[in-house]
């Protein structure tokens, strides 16, 4: 990681305003070692990821051309399996149950369910057969584990007993998925067409085959023996155990190493002398640009989407507590579970992204020191309109697609159906385009600053971090309903995981660091060091760590090994950054603020502190809790995943999105309309409501379900029968008070505040021709402030720093004796 000491030395002197180089650019403000380390770590990570992508295609479970019984009767073809997958996705079944543990948690895991049911039938047939009854178990195991797929002929042979089980299970799934009275989370008569049922059963049967049949040359199945199923001798493999232990060691060594290094060297170059005295501009004195004013609408839309998303969550949750009806209303006719869950998860992404788009637009003029190109506001209004079209279009498309209203165009206009990438392809392309337009808007707004800066400096990092969002969302386009499950899952998690565990963390760090720089409370150089440290730390574990989602989805064992070790390293920055987060907040903290203007962002900072807390608990602790392969083997797709997902997604990115809103609203809402009452209420309600959700229901429910997996097997623990059992239902109801607090005390006040932002949005925009300046604070020469706070204010408007004239004035660095 370079030599940190030189990193600090290299930038001593005049930290914020080094002279421009020959090309008129402000040179790099950080030692080259940091930049090299960041690029190297990221590049190596993606190189390995590339190799793992190749291995995915080489080693995924094959789809046979035809599956026949020993008598030569054809049970189903490869095309049936593929059609089955398409039907699975089209009907939104991945948001009802799961395959290889991936999907929703109300319905069964169809892989484990098929495997368990068919193995039970097979064993029963052998036990009743008279002749070999004694070794019924051994014969069942042989039927399922022996790999009778011949790649040359493309033919897979199933035993007569397995063929019988297949026919029985076709009837079973016809009943489960096409129940006329509903009451199991799907629409009544959701899937009734016999051909479709046959294909779906073929798909489930194929996945169950891959889960038990041994890989050629190995003594474990394509899914590393997942799920646990004693009937076919499926138990954790040596790899699963070994790499669990090794990944723990990795974590301890990584964390210890970092803390030791951090204690020894002053990585970040913090020292007490480098402190400015400054005066925060009161929000009413900060004039916004036209584009900044449009963000009021973004934040209002964000809060509205958040409300809908949370309400849909409540409806989704209700199915777990009471499948029969929604307090007497047959909700499953209108809004079945798989639809509410699709909307709930899609909207979670949408509302968070809305806030990110808005803060980008809001920050660009601040970074450009007040400059804004013409028509920027128009573009940002268009962007919001486009976003509204995509959100509404995709959600309605999902409803219509699941009901089959689009015919053959279902995957284009309706729903592609891969969990988290549910939206139709058209909407997906439009969303990528919208994000790309957003980066174009940012580029326009920043370009004067960008041309005057080294690519390694903060304005560029901000822009590049923003660019990563559309780039990695676009990767999701690789997964289509025609991809095999293993391939699709690989690309799906490149999006899901790399977004939340790498590039969003990065965007977060850059944005938050920049907020503090713009507020004048953190030195640009310090912020830059934090950002590079974050890139190195997050990328070291996070990139290859993507594989922790793919232990059992048909990938070879190396994905499991690498995924386990590197994702364990992801916890290191989370441990470290909780310490850092508070330090960061306090870097700006000054006991004797010389200014009469108070720090205006109390509540934005509180939400950022909550981000730090939930990053530690929700992502770090609850994430690592389910991260070891041996734990994941039993746990995947159960309540503990939901526990982690909620605490991490809402706790980190939800709180962050709201923190951004608080920051901007402080300027958008006129001073006389602003009240601390609403953000305080919202802050406490959201945090306590989320904690309640986790500790009252998700954590204990997950733990109980995990116990059930160990006790009675995975298929059983995932069955509706278990979920509707008394013990689980009591826990499901127990979260109600917390959810009410969250919704009423948390979301509604936020919606109200964002409405105030729209309704009373400050009038009068900044004159685009006004000289560039730091908009949010003014530096004060300290000696004079001791006598008179107003005297000797060095208004930076007059220094016109940044741009080609940078370095005209040295900064005022207070040297305390």
């Amino acid at each position: 990681m370079g030599t940190p000491d030189t990193a600090v030395l290299a930038t001593t002197g005049d930290p914020d305003e080094p002279p421009t180089d020959a090309g008129g650019r402000r040179p790099r403000m950080i030692a080259r070692g940091w930049v090299q380390a960041a690029i190297l770590v990221t590049a190596v990570g993606f190189l390995v990821l590339g190799l793992l992508a190749v291995r995915t295609y080489q080693a995924e479970p094959p789809i046979p051309d035809r599956v026949v019984s020993t008598t030569g009767e054809q049970l189903f073809t490869g095309e049936d399996v593929r059609d089955g997958q398409r039907a699975f996705l089209r009907n939104g079944l991945m948001q009802y149950g799961s395959i290889f543990g991936h999907g929703a948690y109300l319905g069964p895991d169809f892989t484990a369910d098929y495997l368990h049911r068919s193995a039970t039938y097979v064993q029963k047939q052998y036990a009743n057969s008279g002749d070999g009854a004694a070794d019924a178990h051994a014969r069942t195991v042989a039927d399922f584990r022996t790999n009778r797929y011949d790649p040359r002929t493309g033919t897979l042979v199933w035993s007569e007993a397995q063929a019988k089980a297949f026919r029985q299970l076709t009837a079973h799934y016809a009943d489960l998925l096409g129940r006329p009275e509903g009451k199991q989370g799907l629409r009544p008569n959701a899937v009734t067409d016999p051909d479709t049922i046959h294909d779906l059963t073929a798909y489930f049967g194929w996945s169950a085959w891959a889960a038990a049949a041994e890989r050629p040359g190995r003594n474990y199945s394509y899914t590393n023996n997942w799920p646990a199923e004693p009937l076919v001798d499926n138990a954790p493999t040596g790899h699963t155990v070994t790499w669990s232990v090794l990944s723990l060691v990795f974590l301890l060594v990584g964390a210890g190493g970092l803390f030791a290094a951090f204690g020894r060297w002053n990585f970040l170059g913090w020292h007490g002398r480098d402190q400015r005295l400054l005066r925060f501009h009161a929000p009413r004195d900060v004039r916004l640009t036209p584009a900044q004013r449009t963000t009021a609408w973004f934040f209002f839309v964000m809060a509205a989407l958040f409300l809908v998303q949370a309400l849909l969550g409540a409806a989704t949750q209700h199915y777990r507590a009471d499948l029969g009806s929604f307090f007497g209303i047959p909700l499953d006719r209108l809004l079945p579970y798989n639809l509410t869950r699709t909307w709930h998860t899609q909207l979670a992404i949408f509302w968070v992204v809305t806030s990110f788009l808005a803060i980008g637009i809001f920050l660009a003029p601040l970074i450009a020191r007040g400059w804004e190109p013409a028509r920027q506001a128009l573009l940002s209004r268009l962007l919001l309109g486009a976003l509204a079209v995509v959100v509404l279009g995709s959600l309605l498309g999902e409803l219509a697609g699941m009901r089959g209203w689009f015919g053959d165009l279902w995957s284009w206009l309706g729903n592609q159906g891969w969990e988290y990438l549910d939206l139709g392809r058209l909407w997906q392309v439009l969303l990528v385009a919208g994000l790309a337009i957003w980066t174009a808007i940012l580029y326009r707004g920043l370009r004067r600053r960008l041309v005057a800066e080294s690519v390694a400096n903060m304005p560029w990092l901000f822009f590049l971090a923003a660019l990563a969002l559309p780039a990695f969302y676009a990767v999701g386009l690789v997964a289509t309903p025609d991809s095999s499950f293993t391939e699709a899952d690989f690309w799906r998690f490149i999006v899901v995981h790399l977004w939340v565990e790498d590039f969003l963390e990065l965007f977060t760090t850059v944005t938050v660091a920049y907020l503090f720089v713009l507020l004048g409370v953190v030195r640009e150089r310090v912020a830059l060091l934090v950002i590079y440290l974050d890139i190195v730390l997050y990328s070291a574990g996070g990139v290859i760590g993507t594989m922790h989602h793919l232990y059992f989805s048909g990938e070879p064992a190396e994905h499991l090994a690498l995924g386990a070790t590197f994702s364990a390293l992801e916890v290191v920055p989370l441990l470290f950054l909780t310490v850092e987060a508070w330090s960061f907040l306090q870097l700006g903290a000054r006991r004797h603020s010389p200014s009469q203007t108070p720090f205006p962002h109390r509540w934005a900072v509180m939400f950022l502190a909550a981000v730090g807390f939930w990053n530690f608990l929700g992502a770090g602790v609850f994430g690592f809790l389910i991260n070891l392969p041996i734990v994941s083997y039993y746990e995947i797709g159960t309540g503990l995943t939901a526990n982690h997902a909620h605490a991490a997604m809402m706790g980190v990115y939800g709180m962050l999105a709201i923190g951004f809103a608080m920051f901007a609203l402080r300027y958008l809402i006129p001073e006389d309309r602003w009240s601390d009452r609403w953000p305080r209420l919202s802050f406490w309600s959201l945090n306590l409501g989320l904690a309640w959700m986790s500790f009252a229901t998700l954590l204990p429910g997950g733990a109980l379900q995990l116990y059930k997996v160990l006790d009675a097997g995975y298929a059983d623990a995932r069955s509706l029968g278990y979920l509707q059992g008394r013990a689980n239902v009591v826990l499901e109801w127990l979260r109600l008070p917390g959810d009410v607090v969250f919704l009423v005390g948390g979301v509604l006040p936020l919606l109200w505040m964002t409405w105030l932002g729209v309704r009373h949005r400050v009038k009068g925009a900044r004159n685009p021709d006004a000289p560039g300046q730091d908009l949010l604070f003014t530096e004060i020469v300290p000696d004079d402030t001791a006598k008179d706070g107003a005297a000797a204010v060095k208004d930076e408007a007059t220094t016109a720093r940044g741009g080609a004239t940078a370095g005209a004035e040295p900064p005022t660095v207070e040297e305390r004796p």
Binding site: R591, A609, R680
Partner: protein, 136 residues
């Protein structure tokens, strides 16, 4: 004792641990200059600034934040234990449930009094952040 009651007892004990950890965090100094992590650095920099006091914003909020969470966790435990007492109450079960519920009840009682006391002085206005940089 039936399985469900055993589970609730064990989980409540675990929640007691969570309450303890949150309380531990509530008391940790969050000032960078007081943190263990910076020990080596503090040795290297003899004139490092004085750590921020626990009642300076935003550090003043650390304690309150963790305590409020811990209060809620304890409330959850009390609720869980009560619900379980209604469902399962053979003598041994009752004994065990009351035994783990009682400490949580004490925590609830003490924490809510403490938090009330702390909230009383008006905290509404925007305070300037206090912190390291002050005179020393």
């Amino acid at each position: 004792m039936r399985g469900e009651a055993i589970f609730v007892v064990l989980y409540s004990v675990a929640l007691l641990g969570v309450v303890g950890l949150l309380e531990f965090y509530a008391r940790q100094p969050t000032s960078a200059w007081a943190s263990q992590v910076f020990a080596g650095y503090r040795r290297a920099v003899p004139d490092a600034p004085r750590p921020a006091g626990p009642d300076e914003w935003p550090h003043s909020e650390v304690g309150r934040f963790h305590r409020a969470l811990s209060l809620f966790v304890a409330v959850i435990a009390v609720l869980l234990v009560s619900a379980e007492l209604v469902r399962h109450h053979r003598p041994l079960e009752t004994l065990a449930l009351v035994a783990v519920g009682a400490p949580h009840a004490v925590v609830v009682h003490r924490l809510q009094r403490r938090l009330r006391r702390r909230t009383a002085p008006a905290n509404g206005a925007d305070h300037g952040p206090g912190g390291e940089g002050g005179a020393h």
